[in-house]
Amino acid sequence: MVSTSSYLALSGILFALGMIGVLTRRTAIMVFLSVELMLNAANLALVAFARSWGDPTGQTAVFIVMTLAAAEVAIGLAIIVAIFRKRETTNVDDLAALKG
């Protein structure tokens, strides 16, 4: 049985990869993809803790996080589409100003 520490280390590496993606990518959609990567790293850690404690609470939390992520993607992509219609770009540097 693989130790919980190994899963946590893998989760940390995936989280750091997602963070690098959020910081370096400049298309809003790519930033979103990296956020999904970070959410999945956190989910992996939660499931590893659930097995470590023998408690399904962690798995339930992952279920709720998945639902939240689905809602976030639906709203976020709708916002990106709305902004793209107005500004013709999804580059986050061009969208830094909140001025309509």
């Binding site: 899963y7 940390g12 989910n43 399904p56 709305a82």
Partner: protein, 215 residues
């Protein structure tokens, strides 16, 4: 079990690197699909079979289809090029990310299981839908109901967000742009409203559109 962990973990990291490094957005999202499938496999090795199935269906299926749809709808698969407003952002993010990953790995190996792993894994009963449902509908009933409301709000909100505005931003309805004296029904195909109904049209044009609908 160990072999499965090493294989799936390595593939997940490779998929993550593709996600953050691919120039083409479609390649990046396909890399993320690979990572999500590997994470689903890792869930299965962690006695969470229901979550593994949900991960494949919801994440790798529905969410990623939505992502690919938007990438292709906005034609955003080409990388953004041009001036970089923050100098050395790639180098700084790379160093910072490496340090963060190292800190996580060091911290992870200080973790001690509170009780023997085989014993706690048996308590999860494989993480099937039954044990998940028991927890969701007893201890987590309020979050469960809140999530259902959240999903409803997300559906309504996304529909409202992508709706075309009823009038142009300058407040002048489109129909006023039509030259006076145009014969109703004589409009070319390209002059018809492209997206949804507009308000404030002239009565004759409104009647003509109703006629078009019924015709």
């Amino acid at each position: 079990m160990t072999l499965a962990f090493i294989l799936l973990g390595a593939l997940a990291i490779v998929g993550g690197i593709i996600t953050i490094a691919a120039r083409n957005a479609v390649h990046a999202s396909l890399g993320l699909v690979g990572t999500l499938l590997c994470v689903a496999g890792l869930f299965a090795t962690l006695n969470a079979s229901f979550l593994a199935a949900t991960q494949v269906i919801v994440y790798a299926g529905a969410v990623m289809v939505l992502f690919l749809f938007v990438i292709m709808l906005l034609n955003a698969n080409q990388p953004v090029t041009g001036h970089d407003p923050v100098p050395f952002v790639r180098e700084l993010a790379g160093i910072g990310g490496t340090l963060l990953a190292a800190a996580f790995v060091v911290l992870a190996f200080t973790y001690k299981d509170p009780r023997p792993l085989a014993e706690s894994a048996a308590a999860l009963r494989g993480g099937d839908a039954m044990i998940m449902g028991e927890t969701l509908l007893t201890r987590f009933l309020l979050p469960f109901e809140a999530v259902s409301i959240l999903l409803l709000v997300a559906i309504v909100g996304s529909v409202a967000l992508v709706q075309r505005p009823e009038a142009q931003p300058d407040g002048v309805p489109d129909e006023l742009d039509t030259p006076v004296g145009t014969v109703p029904g004589d409009r070319g195909q390209d002059e018809q409203p492209r997206f949804g109904p507009r308000v404030g049209g002239q009565p004759a044009l409104q009647a003509a559109r109703d006629g078009e609908v019924s015709a």
